[in-house]
Symmetry: C2
Subunit: 317 residues, 2 copies
């Protein structure tokens, strides 16, 4: 995500006096580019955080666990993309379009939400404000870029191998991802859901301040390079209509309503990849719920689900 | 589906005295192969059905509409794969593992169910027998072979074009399918669902003899060559447990339980492609339903969803 983050900081003209890029020893010595100038990558150490105002962390849970408190103690505000601190009651978990005020409670650490959760909530939250959400049933279609650069290369290699009629051993995923789908994102928990699947309920409750919110989710990796999609059936306290839902969604910040199915217009990963806004469409009265809506949302999980959301949090500071 | 059907008839050693292959004028004159011998493809005409016992139709709704009654009137029993007659009360709609006895009511026409519905019901029906199903929320991951040979070629060509950094114009689908997903299978109805999406409720009611059954479905085309998958949340009348569900599913005909997620074992399209049995896994207590189960089912939609099911119906006759 580092490269995406630098691009978002550039594009949004974030006020940066100096920028430092920190990584593991392996990457140290390379350069990254910011505003047309090379920034040397330094090795992340316990002493890296002197005179840093804002530290973006996106190097996995272990590094966040170890280094984020050090950065905070050195005076930085940490915006962490890992799941490490998200459910910690002392750490705000923030989507700026939904709960910007929670940022104020921070004690040096702010968590960035899970990507699939962020994309789904961008459409769900405005509907919640209008109708009061109780629970959702959702299934995701998640891009390989969510697993990093090696997963992108793995999909490309497997597709190439398939064209040349040879086998290509999967390394990032436990099974081939080309021309396949895997109902397996993140590790399996005792209740049979994956950790990823439970995040929509757990993080959704915290972000929307809705302790009773329920979400039953199946997370699936699909052979798409970039942008996640989620099919959602949502149940509300109050009566719903597609017209009202359209009105609410059309006005929602960070969201674009793309809902003219008869003209073949609906959100798709290839359309939304690289875009800041998430897209929602296929909005319909849910035929198996009393007060329910079914809808389909797509969003660039590297932007709204990660880098963009992190920079938006920094802007709130 | 014609080629798949011939293969299934061979493989299951169906008692065939003579076989005739009928197609449009375009294909007439070609040969297909049955039991190692060439069978000439004849042009389908109004007089094609003399002395035919069983006529398998799989040439789209229009041809079924026109020619199936002619075949029936000539004395054949028609097993039709199109959606034309499925909801006709005089026409049994049959999945042999579920409602074999309905075949007896036929008046010369028997309908084969929709492929996604068939795959989902193979797992849902045994659970219904155990717990009494009320409603389901489902999202599908449908292979391009469901749209025919041209769609398979389109995916291959688009993947190739992407590797060569050139554009490839979609023809079968309204948008590219390579490295993308399309929340669009079949035509859109006034209620915002597609025709395909409503089939699980409509056909499910008829097949399971459950007039109150509700199904809210999102059908999505994914860049997979063969085999459909469905993520399902199902609500039941009676209390459920994963142990009981496993027991029931392990014994269900035509179904294989593949549910050891911690060993990375779950159903996937590339595993189930070419297999007669559907596979079910990821079974868990649904965390947003009182008496609910979430599960994931994959099946070769050209076999269980079409050719195999049609031959199984013929075997019942």
């Amino acid at each position: 995500m580092g490269a995406e983050l630098l691009k978002v900081l550039e594009r949004r003209n974030f006020p940066v006096a100096t920028i430092r890029a920190l990584a593991s020893g392996k990457s140290a010595g390379k350069d990254v580019s910011f505003r047309g100038r090379p920034v040397p990558v330094e090795e992340l150490t316990e002493k890296s955080f002197a005179e840093i105002d804002i530290a973006f962390f996106s190097a996995g849970g272990e590094r966040s666990q170890k280094f984020a408190p050090l950065a905070r103690d050195a005076g930085a505000v940490v915006i962490d993309n890992s799941s490490t601190f998200r459910m910690n009651p002392d750490v705000p978990l923030v989507i700026p379009e939904i709960n910007p005020h929670d940022v104020k409670q921070h004690r040096g650490l702010i968590a960035n939400p899970n990507c699939t959760t962020a994309v789904a909530l961008m459409a769900l939250y405005p509907l919640h404000r209008a109708f009061g959400v109780r629970r959702v049933f959702a299934a995701s279609y998640q891009a390989v870029s969510g697993s990093g650069a090696r997963a992108i290369a793995e999909l490309t290699e497997q597709v190439k191998a398939s064209g040349e009629n040879r086998q290509s051993r999967p390394e990032v995923y436990p099974h081939p991802i080309a021309f396949n789908v895997l109902p397996h994102v993140d590790i399996f928990l005792e209740n049979g859901y994956t950790k990823e699947e439970m995040k929509m309920q757990d993080e959704g409750r915290k972000i929307m301040h809705l302790p009773e919110f329920q979400a039953s989710v199946t997370c699936v990796r699909v052979p798409v390079y970039r942008a996640h999609s989620v099919a959602v059936s949502a149940e509300f306290d109050n009566p719903v209509s597609v017209e009202q839902a359209h009105e609410v969604l059309a006005k929602a910040p960070g969201l674009e309503l793309v809902d003219e199915p008869k003209k073949n217009r609906y959100p798709m990963p290839i359309e939304v990849a690289g875009k800041d806004n998430c897209q929602v469409g296929r909005v319909r009265r849910d035929c198996a719920l009393e007060n329910g809506l079914a809808f389909w949302v797509s969003g660039d999980q590297l932007l709204k689900g990660a880098a963009l959301n992190a920079v938006q949090i920094a802007e709130l500071l």
